[in-house]
């Protein structure tokens, strides 16, 4: 080895990301649904629901709202765990552990490039928080609900289960189920990077991104060292959540969209991108 070439040490979380995602899919989703079986469940609906408990509906009493937390106790624990870890470490749930996002990202890798849709011209954060506003407010005013309908956490497990179970197949035998499937295909499997659904329509991801943004000063994040960056934007080309944008000739990370998949870190020719704490 030449004297001036230092061996490149690739982080465990980068090297084994796809394997971790695959492991999570196996643990959470059918046919095994291993983790759900500890609570007599078979999917994210019920005790594991991460989307419904924090939404107040018109006519709901305080006690009913509180009961929702008890009913979805595993979902509550999951969401609190996600928010806590994101605050300090970044959105590792989204990038490595979420079986829903993982399925869409891994699935999108099987789709030929020429069929991929590039959503990067959509300002993700604006769209996401418009969706989240309705997610919270529509039930409050009794206008309807987005909690169960078009739920990514309900759709993906049933895509796996439908091959085996009539109940999971029945999920898709109705208009709302077919639309949910369509969203997963168009915004997930056929999206460049496979993460448009996560980036635009996942309420858990939207809350997680807020935690990520608020904890920016305290925790580790994917950051660009401006002095090293040459503005080539090779990072932006590979980012699945189009979180990298050009600002004053340098790459800039939008912490409301970044998930620490750290693909950008690998492709940066100047080693200007690193997962680290904010430098003083």
């Amino acid at each position: 080895m030449p004297k001036d070439t230092k061996p490149v040490k690739v982080s465990f979380w980068i090297r084994y990301r796809y394997w971790i995602m695959l492991g999570s899919i196996t643990m959470f989703l059918p046919p095994l649904s291993f983790l759900f079986q500890f609570t007599k469940d078979s999917n994210f609906c019920g005790a594991w629901c991460p989307r419904m408990f924090f939404v107040w509906r018109a006519g709901m009493s305080g006690e009913q709202f509180f009961m929702g937390f008890l009913r979805s106790y595993m979902g509550v624990a999951l969401v609190l765990g996600i928010l806590f870890t994101s605050f300090f470490l970044g959105r590792y749930w989204c990038s490595h552990l979420c079986p829903v996002g993982g399925t869409m990202e891994l699935g999108s890798r099987l789709v030929p490039k020429f069929l991929k849709i590039n959503y990067s011209s959509i300002p993700a954060a604006s769209f996401r928080y418009g969706y989240l506003a309705v997610f919270f407010l529509a039930p409050v005013f009794g206008l309807g609900s987005l909690c169960c309908r078009y739920c990514n956490f309900a759709t993906i497990p049933r895509m796996f289960g439908a091959a085996f179970l009539g109940a999971d197949m029945a999920f898709f035998m109705r208009t709302a189920g077919l639309i949910s499937l369509g969203l997963v295909i168009v915004l997930g499997l056929f999206a460049k990077g496979g993460r448009a659904y996560c980036n635009l329509l996942c309420p858990v991801g939207a809350l997680d991104a807020l935690s990520n943004r608020i904890g920016l000063k305290f925790g580790r994040r994917v950051r660009v060292e401006k002095s090293k960056c040459n503005g080539c934007m090779a990072c932006a080309a590979v980012c699945p959540t189009w979180a990298l944008e050009e600002s004053e000739g340098k790459a800039h990370v939008d912490q409301l969209s970044c998930i620490p998949c750290r693909v950008c870190e690998n492709v940066c020719p100047k080693e200007a991108i690193a997962y680290e704490k904010l430098k003083a």
Partner: protein, 167 residues
């Protein structure tokens, strides 16, 4: 400006998604009790569709335990199939009810069940109208432990139906 436009677009699309009901599926939430049970609200559907799906979830209220027969009742009879959510591979980590031939075996207090009822209109029949019910009976006593009303009505203008898929 672009960000504002996309925010408004997202609000508009999401609002449409939250408020519009297709009328071919509904979710009912119930309590299974020895004295007849209770359901939060009836399941409403819009007449004129070829198939419907009812998602009936319920919790078993103590002290009830036993086996429960599930039936879709009403006239004329409807072509239907009932499925229950369950793990594909049951690892036996926790004892959960089994659903075989429309009977839920071994219900225990605090169990949660989820039934999917897929109803199809027969090709030569008129559209489905009127009231039906998904009834759950204790197999030993034949007493009802839960009744979920299903109401099939012609749509009002725009196809809105109260309660459908409301949780």
């Amino acid at each position: 400006m672009k960000k504002t436009i996309f925010f408004i677009l997202a609000v508009g699309v999401s609002l449409l998604g939250a408020t519009y009901r297709f009328g071919d599926s509904a979710h009912s939430i119930g309590l299974i009790k020895a004295d007849g049970g209770a359901v939060k609200h009836a399941a409403h559907f819009i007449s004129g569709k070829d198939s419907y799906t009812l998602i009936a979830t319920a919790t078993v209220i103590p002290p009830y335990r036993g086996d429960v027969r599930v039936a879709l009742e009403g006239n004329p009879k409807l072509e239907h199939k009932i499925y229950a959510s369950a793990p594909v591979i049951d690892l036996g980590l926790r004892k959960s009810p089994k659903f075989i031939d429309n009977i839920l075996y071994n219900l225990n207090p605090k169990d949660r069940i989820s039934l999917w009822v897929v109803i199809r209109k027969q090709a030569d029949a008129d559209s489905i109208k009127g009231e039906y019910r998904l009834a759950l009976y204790d197999t030993k006593t034949n007493k009802s432990v839960l009744r979920v009303p299903l109401i099939f009505k012609a749509s009002k203008a725009g196809g809105e139906v109260a309660h459908a898929e409301r949780h």
